[in-house]
Symmetry: C2
């Protein structure tokens, strides 16, 4: 394996749909526009434009997947996986990472200015779906002149986008890597999302979504994120990280944070309020809950996909349990797709797709290698 290196300084770019009316017809049958997508790219697109990989982010992710922004000390959210010599090897591949529509990190979302009012959309922003996010991404991929992606990869909601690419534009994919994801949310997953939304919407500071001139609904959003963090970890990883360790060595007999795990959650909640828009959290969780490619919707009947699949789940992930990945594999095998499934033995819970670098790298590097080689043989292309 090559020596792993960092990408160094990277920049977020912005793509605004060029073609009039610069609008997207949404699944809700409403239109949204103008639309801008924040995105980053790493590595170089080859002459044949055959080495492009799209990575899709999870709930609170953004376009900044790898490398460092000028002056910052924390790299992008999947930096351990993207870069020279890494899983998505930028010496070989051209990696595109785009922020989703509905987000708050440079792409058009509920905190963007509504051209009709000159004020932030708030709840006037239309409810978007994973299919809408992917439709917007397809415009971005079009604009880069890429007809066929070597792969599309992502974990959690990123994995939903991967599956939606398969359903919407399968003919434009050589391969797909859905990680720690599902064909649809179970009622338990919907329930967690609904509690998250109720926590935000129940905060009077939410003001029916029109809080932008007053500040975020901090309390509700922090609690929402705390719930999230519990579901991202596992019982075992929490035990390993916190056990019952006390912050000050003794019980306070008050309602402060006695246990380290309480301090951790409060800290994560408070940090989140500074970096993520509450309305975007509502829109994106709703998109995840609406997502449903079960019942034959992933691949049309009578169609055998030419796309290769690598499906990954993690043993301790109870938010997106392995049976949901196995459901994906069952759908694929039912359509005679070339699909490999691997359940990795992590204790990190759902967070594993961000943390289990080594085992994922072994799997993904090999899978991409084989995809690229098959591609070259089949099409006579050269890198």
């Amino acid at each position: 394996m090559d020596t792993k290196q960092n990408l160094g300084i990277v920049e977020t770019r912005y793509f605004t749909f060029a073609n009039p009316p610069n609008e997207l017809l949404l699944e809700s049958e409403r239109s949204l526009g103008p639309i801008t997508l924040a995105y980053e790219t790493y590595g170089k697109l080859n002459r044949g434009k055959t080495n492009a990989i799209l990575v899709a982010h999870a709930l609170s992710g953004d376009a900044h997947a790898a490398g460092f922004h000028e002056g910052e000390k924390t790299p992008g959210w999947w930096d351990s996986m993207i870069g020279p010599g890494k899983s998505f090897d930028t010496n070989r591949y051209f990696v595109i990472s785009s922020n989703v529509v509905g987000g708050c990190k440079g792409s058009t979302g509920p905190s963007s200015l509504n051209p009709k009012t000159g004020k932030p959309y708030g709840l006037d922003f239309p409810v978007i779906t994973i299919a809408d996010m992917v439709k917007a991404q397809r415009h971005l991929v079009d604009s880069l002149g890429i007809e066929k992606l070597l792969s599309v990869a992502g974990g959690s909601m990123g994995g939903m986008q991967v599956l939606q690419w398969v359903a919407s534009y399968g003919e434009r994919l050589r391969s797909a890597i859905p990680i720690a994801t599902a064909l649809k949310h179970s009622p338990q997953q919907i329930a967690f999302d609904e509690v998250v939304r109720q926590s935000i919407m129940g905060d009077p500071a939410w003001r029916q979504g029109n809080y932008y001139e007053f500040g975020q609904p901090e309390k509700g959003l922090a609690v929402a994120r705390m719930i999230g963090h519990i579901t991202f970890m596992s019982d075992q990883s929490m035990e390993e990280k916190f056990s019952r360790k006390l912050k000050n060595g003794h019980y306070s007999f008050q309602f402060g944070a006695d246990f380290e795990v309480e301090g951790y959650l409060r800290h994560r909640g408070d940090n989140f309020v500074r970096r993520f828009d509450a309305n975007s959290y509502l829109y994106i969780t709703k998109a995840m809950d609406y997502f449903d490619l079960s019942g034959g919707r992933l691949i049309p009947n009578g169609h055998t996909p030419q796309t290769r699949f690598l499906v990954i789940s993690f043993k301790s992930d109870w938010l997106y349990p392995s049976y949901q990945s196995q459901d994906i594999v069952r759908e694929l095998k039912g359509k005679h797709a070339d699909a490999t499934y691997c359940e990795l033995p992590s204790t990190y819970g759902h967070d594993a797709f961000l943390l289990e670098v080594e085992e994922q790298t072994t799997l993904i590097r090999h899978f991409l290698d084989k995809t690229l080689n098959g591609y070259q043989v089949a099409d006579g292309y050269e890198i």
Copy 2:
């Protein structure tokens, strides 16, 4: 098995500590008084006072465990288990059910009047522990003239009280039945409780606990309870009950309750606000988080308990997973206690201790029978 019957109309009674200064010295070294405990009894205490069973309730339970209150259509929370011919057979046993200190159902708690101010305690109420709850219960049992309980039984926090009885007053128990419980909360359980508390305390209507003249912090308390309900069920029981069924047959593309599971959670949250005091929720969850009888604290070293144990857990309970019950059994076996363990194959999750009547009944009836028979032989008592 006898024919099962209902208890008919029952009444809650109130026990106020009789002995001056009518106070309890708490684990926090603060004093609390005067103290009243709400309690109910079912069946008759025999002449030898050898047939008394204490049942202890969970987080949001109360003294009303069985039978009907005048004019009400819903029976007590464990009515399926307590009554003539039932698991805790009131033809044979005298069942005592007491509401915990810190609660809001007739026992002294944060919503009670503070005699020093004439106003509700609010956060001036001292933080109480499971040991404090059990100490108060012991006073109640004393007042009934019962030296030795035939058994003490309960699920969830009720099970913690059972274990605390073993640790504090083991010599006063013939047997103990801890169900779906733990020697201590894991960091995941603490985390869920902390999110619940943050949801309540983050609601501006909570007003630092002084909301009694204004009304409950409804939004925060409802969200807190919604979180609870997710953890009480299992992934499978939610799938069986709700699947992805829609309330109105189609997506609303708004932020209402699209899915039945969302409507259910909102409904449970709203109902809870009408029946439970937010501060009591804070105090009781804190007591559960502080509880820790691991590391040899359940039974003193060098001591072999004469108490018989029946430990029950449920396969799909992920809030109090079976490994926690197995930890209890390991502690007991390490002290050469007479302990039976049973993991029941329910899909109901943590709620199973309230819902899995038949299998629990088989186990518990037999266990109590044997306890009572052994008791009579050993002590020469007659029922």
